[in-house]
Symmetry: C2
Subunit: 354 residues, 2 copies
DNA sequence: CTTTTTTGCACAATCGATGGTGCAAATAAT
DNA sequence: ATTATTTGCACCATCGATTGTGCAAAAAAG
């Protein structure tokens, strides 16, 4: 009735109150009571008591007994970024709709941290794990494998578990092409040495994007050189430094910029904050990630929206298969033209107004 | 040695392997072995075996026994937003540094969902709960209270548990003042009916911000009317509609805009996508939330950065107190001038380059 | 060589829920 | 009325780790 006392009711409490055994109470409350041929009236009695006393099962005990917990994990590199936070949002909704409990954790793109975090999750007997953007998916796979936990890679592929990732090559081609096309009507045509790629590191996604970038660049501008690729890692600070260094050297920024991720784009923002507007009045930026605010900056920003909804949907589908093939599933990303405000997962949340 | 088999080693496995009892193994592995006067050599033996067999404790079992789990929860309204995702990032780091396991979940600003989510967390015996931006913190409090779980409100205050929130009134005054000041050198001075507030609902934060807005507006512009307050809830879609309606009516946007949150700001983006640039060439926007990309839009955007680091730090401090006073702690937010790229939690992540 | 003290560890109960097994009472079949 | 079924539920072991208690053997004291 009232939320009295300090401790939660257990099946033993209800057992005493109802005069039934604990196993009967358990069966009634977890829904297996018909199978166990419990009388309907006893079931009702117990359900009534459970409600009165605000019984909720101790999920640790249940998990211990079943060696399943009802928890489904999502391992992210970082939260603080629209791509991943929107993935988290979608993930939660999906997991909830399956009647499970979502757990989102980040591991800072640190292989050690990734393994430690996953070990912790395994120790809580999570049922399934979605591994997004892991630096070392295969090691994570081994942990999951050993613990018998279904898992799948997202965003960055592994070689030992099925992976669902963006078609980074295709996305990069689209993006590069769109950047170049922006200069069609320009006074001076874009020269190959005016189109640079900044950001990324030696991961699968960056490699594919670089490949797409270079292929299209060669195709359309006839030429491309190593100097135009500036990997800076996934760090705003490092990216800013790269821009500063370039500017120091050349006295200007490249007219065309392919930026590997919104995190790197933040490095450009930092650069911008240090320099007058003229420094980049006529640049065209392509960013491999979508951020609604980024899309409205004062110069043309073409973005790639990775379709994390589809990626997750595919991943959920695969993870339910008995023995999914260890292959890479490519999801097509979407080109987003400048000044575009796309809807996101928040739009499906109903909001009650004042 | 090799990550063989399917099942994880338990203390019973190690008990057999070492020839010691399970309780000895347990004591050695959880560090209480000195207190239990276990010989150093036995400890070493068992630790060696544990390492060889990759033992990790089953945290559900431990949690069941201790009725503590090592989990610390953060309840968010949504992930997909820089304010909350950056809070999640900071939270994780803090919790990890305390040797616990962070669990971040969102509840979509839905009171029902909030309660259900918290019940689930409680069923997993989380040790502490940080309640951020809950619509109904007091009901959540009751659940925690009944379960004996330490908890604290962040961002939106409750009346039954200590709360750490932004000084929304002061922040709104700062922001409103900064917006008005922007028009000091304008051709035509800003008139009271040209400064509007959009967004927010009937929650504590919105009310305080509205109060601050109106107070400063009256103070500096001599006048303020109810018509200048347009609460739209925390929804991009509703906010867009409000802008469209205004534009329909007035043929233009207000010159001065106070936008209640970055989520509402996205509503403005959607409006912008539908209208030519001239429609808002000379507006000044103040947004109560900081988003790095938002800060560089083509018109002046003044932002308020809520200091979630300090809020969390204070919250951690309070939650460790035995019986913290039920009061509201105000944290000062920071005014961010246009074209500013602040550092965030990601900057403390070390990044290994290609 | 006894008695006392210390050392080192094993035993068993416990946390809460689950599910296989068994058994009495109620009901049906003969 | 007797045997065969079915119904309804209780009993108990189990999941893995923790911890209070007790008791031998070893060491120290007498």
């Amino acid at each position: 009735m009232k939320p009295q006392g300090k401790k939660k009711a257990t099946i033993y409490d209800l057992s005493v109150l109802s005069g039934c055994s604990a196993s009967t109470v358990s069966a009634v409350l977890n829904g297996t009571w018909r199978k166990r041929r419990i009388k309907e009236s006893t079931a009702e009695l117990i359900q009534g008591l459970a409600e009165q006393h605000q019984y909720t099962a101790n999920l640790q005990a249940r998990g211990l007994r079943n060696s399943r917990s009802g928890l489904v994990g999502l391992l992210l590199p970082v939260h603080d970024n629209r791509y991943f936070s929107s993935m988290a949002q979608t993930f939660e909704a999906q997991v909830r709709s399956h009647g499970k409990c979502p757990v989102v954790v980040s591991a800072s793109r640190d292989p050690q941290e990734e393994l430690a975090t996953v070990e912790t999750l395994i120790s809580y007997s999570i049922d399934e794990l979605f591994i997004a953007g892991a630096t070392d998916p295969d090691s994570v796979h081994c942990l999951c494998e050993a613990a018998g936990i279904r898992h799948i890679n997202i965003d960055l592929p592994g070689t030992k578990a099925p992976s669902v990732i963006s078609d980074n090559y295709q996305g990069a081609r689209l993006l590069t092409q769109a950047i170049i096309k922006r200069f069609d009507d320009a006074a001076a045509p874009l020269k190959p040495e005016e189109l640079f790629l900044f950001g990324g590191r030696n991961d699968h996604a960056s490699r594919e994007r670089i490949k797409g970038f270079r292929d299209i660049k060669t195709e359309l501008l006839g030429q491309d050189s190593d100097a135009c690729i500036q990997p800076t890692g996934y760090s705003p600070g490092m990216t800013q430094k790269a821009f500063e260094a370039f500017y120091e050297r050349e006295g200007k920024l490249p007219r065309g910029l392919f930026i590997n991720s919104s995190i790197n784009f933040e490095g450009l923002l930092r650069f911008m904050a240090q320099h007058p507007h003229e420094t980049f009045a006529d640049i065209v930026v392509g960013c491999y990630d979508y951020d609604p605010f980024g899309s409205f900056l004062p110069f043309p920003v073409i973005m790639i929206r990775q379709d994390s909804e589809s990626m997750l949907a595919k991943a959920f589908e695969l993870i339910e298969e008995a023995r999914p093939a260890v292959k890479i599933h490519l999801i097509q990303p979407e080109l987003v033209h400048p000044r575009t405000a796309l809807k996101g997962p928040l739009d499906s949340i109903r909001d009650i107004d004042a």
